[in-house]
Amino acid sequence: MSEPKRLHPIAAVVNMLRQLKELIVPLIVFVVFGSSGDGGNQFYLIAVAGGLFLVFISGIIFWYRFTYRVEDGELRIEHGLFVRKKRYIPFERIQSLDVSEGLLQRPFGLVKVKVETAGGAGAGEAEAVLTAIRKNEANEIHDLLVKLKKSTHAVEEGEQIDSKETVIYKISSSELLLLASTSGGVGVVISAVFAFFLQFEEFIPFDRVFNEVEHFISSGLVFISIIIFLGFLLAWAISVVGTMLKYANFTLKRVDDDLIITRGLLEKRQFTIPIKRIQAVRISENLLRQPIGMASVFVESAGGSALNEESSKVLILPIIKKQKVARLLEPYLDDYQLNSELHSVPSRAYIRYLLKGWFIAIPIVLVVVFLFRPWGYFSIALLVASALWSWLEYRDAGWSLYDGLLTLRFRTIVKSTVFMKREKVQSLTIKQSHFQTQKRLATIDAVVKSGHGGSGGKVYDLDWEDTKKIYNWFSRKED
């Protein structure tokens, strides 16, 4: 496999489509504005046709100049027309491998391979993307990655190891339904619809539409409510179907020393992350799932980037009973103790959580009360809500140390429990303000690598003695 190879020609089509997708909005705007003026129509048509032709040509050139090969334990990629770019990626530096089967690739038995390393060359894309290669070639790359690791093991242990495959988790259809209906995707779809309409505000003559509809509106507020309700229901249904397609057949396996995730119905994806590359494990419970005792589990990976969050925060268990997490994962995640008892934050810290919430709430309430005199007083309820929220934050804050493992639990909007091994923590900071010193409290902030930047955990107002314990645990000072 050391010959330089081209991608399958379908890669050219995929690239063209991607470029077209980026161009579609400017193109539409261009055409709409262009043709509204008289006369210059032909010019605009030619310009658009020229643009499309350029996209077409550049797609083909990209495909023609892009070659890849596997040589000396490296994946070597060369591309570019005027500026030749070469990127050599040693297999032992690969953080994760993402194999997906898109709608365009599938009819030809092709897959798309994304290789992530810890390097941060570009903030956007993965370090290497092979848009369309044959499945068996992708398998070869995968095997090489695995074999390379195994051969170093085999030398150490002097024997051939058969690959051991265990299925850790497979999503059931009821879980899939639950996952889809409680995911935050609803909000995304709704805001996308709003954004869509706002985008076209200039084109749709809202005023006229409203005037015509006005008598209609006055005829029935009920009708409007029903329309809005149906709209939301539709948005929710779209999001549910989308999530179900995305996470159908979700399976988590451990093969030798890698975690392998497969999922998807229309677009099939396979994601490989070596266990020793896991930077941290995160259990998160969102507001809809927490009351029914369900949680999702992520692992932080050093691959990926801010724009490509799916490969830096890898979902390994989409939805699961929280009590089951430890029993299910512990045998497979080396040295992660997911069931430890957490120490909570001392009760004297609550007042600080409360004040932090009110710090934002009080000015809002004051302004509202001042502006809308009689009814504005209802906004005082916001103070109560804020106090309750602060209580949640206070109750959820916690920490524990277990051997080489630091666990921090905290709530932003979602309640997260983060498990970090000592050797994966990049830096640890404690912060103490004057007021915290008086109350003998301190804030702890641990950072692990996640994608391009850092992630981790931050817990406010721990007991000072506890903070010291964590600080000394992390310190490598000899004495």
Partner: protein, 159 residues
């Protein structure tokens, strides 16, 4: 209390911070002066002029005298064989531990003002974070950079 890190940053840092505080105060004072002139011309209320004057003077005092002093007093660091410890912050005291094995690279950086006073800033990068020690003596910074990178090289552990 956790024992404080041992090393202080250069005393000349104080001078540099005061100068840069002075520059920003100068700008604020110029703006304030302009406003006050306008106020006198257009007969603003007396207390508005007073408030402007007060803000400009307080800002200058804080930026030139108070803040540099507090900042310098707090700033300490220590480079040990296996880790680097930093302490900083004026109102919120922050203490950070960076294990040597996590250090990816070390930079030194020097603006015109720092150069005049033979100082430079050391920046320590891990894979996920960047930490800064401001205003060390130039030779000390160079020495530090060299020793950190040689200490960090010993520990060869992957991300």
């Amino acid at each position: 209390m956790i024992p404080e890190p041992q090393t202080r940053i250069s005393e000349r840092a104080l001078v540099v911070w005061r100068i840069s505080g002075g520059i920003s105060s100068l700008i604020i004072c110029l703006v304030a002066g302009g406003l006050i002139t306008l106020g006198v011309i257009f007969d603003w209320l007396f207390w508005i002029i007073g408030v402007i004057l007060f803000i400009a003077l307080t800002y200058s005092y804080v930026m030139i005298f108070l803040l540099p002093k507090l900042r310098w007093k707090r700033w300490r660091y220590e480079v040990r064989e296996q880790e680097i410890e930093l302490q900083r912050g004026v109102f919120i005291i922050k203490r950070t531990l960076i294990p040597m094995i996590r250090v990816q690279h070390v930079d030194t950086q020097q603006g015109p003002l720092l150069r005049k006073y033979q100082l430079s800033t050391v920046m320590i990068s891990t894979a996920a974070t960047v930490h800064e020690i401001p205003a060390l003596d130039m030779h000390e910074a160079e020495e530090l950079r060299r020793s950190i990178s040689s200490l960090a090289r010993v520990a060869d552990e992957d991300v």
